[in-house]
């Protein structure tokens, strides 16, 4: 049983990390703020989600697992809003320029 869970963890975290690497690459390669944001938001959400999902079996307790999910939810929430803010300020600066 633990073996299956471990394999699951390794697989999920690996895929999650893969998404992060993609996001980092996109961040470096894309030309402007908006496209970079686009890449980051999509990939970060999935990446972090997968890592948290993969770590759930290792959390050890229900409280620990709940905390992990809370972390993920908070990042989802603040990430979505901060992305909005950055996008708006990028657009504003574009108009001013």
């Amino acid at each position: 049983m633990t073996l299956i869970l471990d394999v699951f963890t390794i697989a999920a975290v690996t895929v999650g990390v893969f998404f992060f690497v993609i996001a980092a690459l996109a961040f470096l390669r894309f030309p402007d703020g908006l496209t970079r944001l686009h890449a980051l938001t999509k990939v970060d959400n999935v990446g972090l989600g997968l890592i948290v999902f993969g770590l759930l079996p290792q959390a050890g307790s229900v409280m620990g697992a709940l905390k992990l999910i809370c972390v993920w939810l908070l990042v989802q929430f603040s990430g979505a809003i901060v992305t909005q803010l950055i996008a708006r300020s990028t657009r504003r600066e574009g108009q001013e320029a």
Partner: protein
């Protein structure tokens, strides 16, 4: 396996630190510095110092980052054409710093045969205080004089920051640069996150007695929430002459000092806690300190009183 992670982490810290030092734009340097702070907190976790990791992330990277970003936003117009120092100076400085690094590295590579540690004696008497977190024990029991003095430093530094206000504006409002226009998304964030943040802050202080956390980390989270609300324009920045503000600034140090003096009468010693009452008294100190630290950190970030900012 552990070492691969550690080596990568250290390389990353050094690379990001160097990047922050040599980045062309000051703005980039500061953003990179915030990343650097977060990486450092990871290093602190690896060094089995979770309390420090939390403090580094909250204060060393978080609040300091806000402070520096605020500064660079105002300095942007002057961020032009730094005159590079002469190469002879650079070379001399390089040699000098390499020498320092090398001598320190030499010491690191030859650790003492018998590692020194006060951990056993800390644990031996920790039980008397009823605390479970040894770091909290050091901060509030064994070396409480340091902690008390450090609170005074924090308040004094705020008076020092305020002292930079022009004469006529003393007691006025700090001019936190507001967001250009009332932004619905920001307001939404400032309405939804603070309840969670305040809960997290209080939780951090509350578990601090027994687990990693405490007044510093909790206070930093509270400060961040308050700043967020002020930036969004949901709450006005209080004038520095406000009585409530000043009471909030000093309530922590005053309670700390009062309990310290109480120790003289009850136990005969300054900053000693009467037997059996150590934990409740320390929690009282930490609770008030959390408020004071939160308010002081936030006021540090918003800066001295200034004329209203006009864009």
């Amino acid at each position: 396996m552990a070492s691969v992670f550690d080596v990568t982490l250290v390389c990353l810290i050094l690379a990001v630190g160097a990047w922050s030092t040599f980045a062309r734009l000051t703005f980039s340097a500061i953003v990179i510095f915030i990343v650097y702070g977060l990486l450092l907190s990871l290093a602190w976790v690896r060094l089995a110092a979770v309390d420090v990791a939390l403090t580094e992330a909250a204060i060393g990277s978080g609040v300091t980052g806000m402070l520096l970003l605020n500064a660079v936003a105002r300095l942007r117009s002057t961020d032009a054409a730094p005159t590079p120092s002469r190469s002879s100076v650079n070379i001399a400085a390089g040699v000098f710093c390499t020498l320092i690094t090398a001598s320190l590295a030499g010491l690191v590579l030859v650790p003492p045969q018998v590692p020194v540690s006060l951990a056993p004696s800390v644990m031996e008497s920790l039980g008397q205080s009823g605390l479970g977190n040894p770091v909290a024990g050091v901060l509030f029991v064994y070396r409480s004089l340091d902690t008390l003095l450090e609170k005074v430093v924090l308040v004094l530094a705020l008076i020092a920051v305020w002292s930079l206000a022009p004469d006529g504006l003393w007691g006025g409002k700090p001019a936190l640069r507001p967001f250009p226009q009332r932004d619905s998304v920001l307001i939404f964030l400032a309405r939804t996150v603070p309840p969670i943040g305040i809960m997290v802050g209080i939780y951090m202080f509350w578990v601090g007695a027994d687990e990693p956390g405490g007044a510093f980390q909790g206070g930093a989270v509270l400060a961040a929430m308050w700043i967020l609300v002020m930036i969004a324009g949901l709450a006005a920045v209080p004038p520095t002459s406000s009585h409530a503000l000043r009471l909030a600034l000093i309530v922590g140090p005053v309670v700390f000092l009062a309990i310290g003096i109480l120790g003289i009468f009850l136990t005969g010693t300054f900053l000693a806690y009467p037997e059996g009452y150590a934990k409740p008294l320390i929690i009282a100190i930490e609770a008030t300190l959390t408020v004071s630290i939160g308010v002081t950190l936030a006021m540090h970030v918003v800066g001295p009183p200034e004329k209203e900012w006009r864009s």
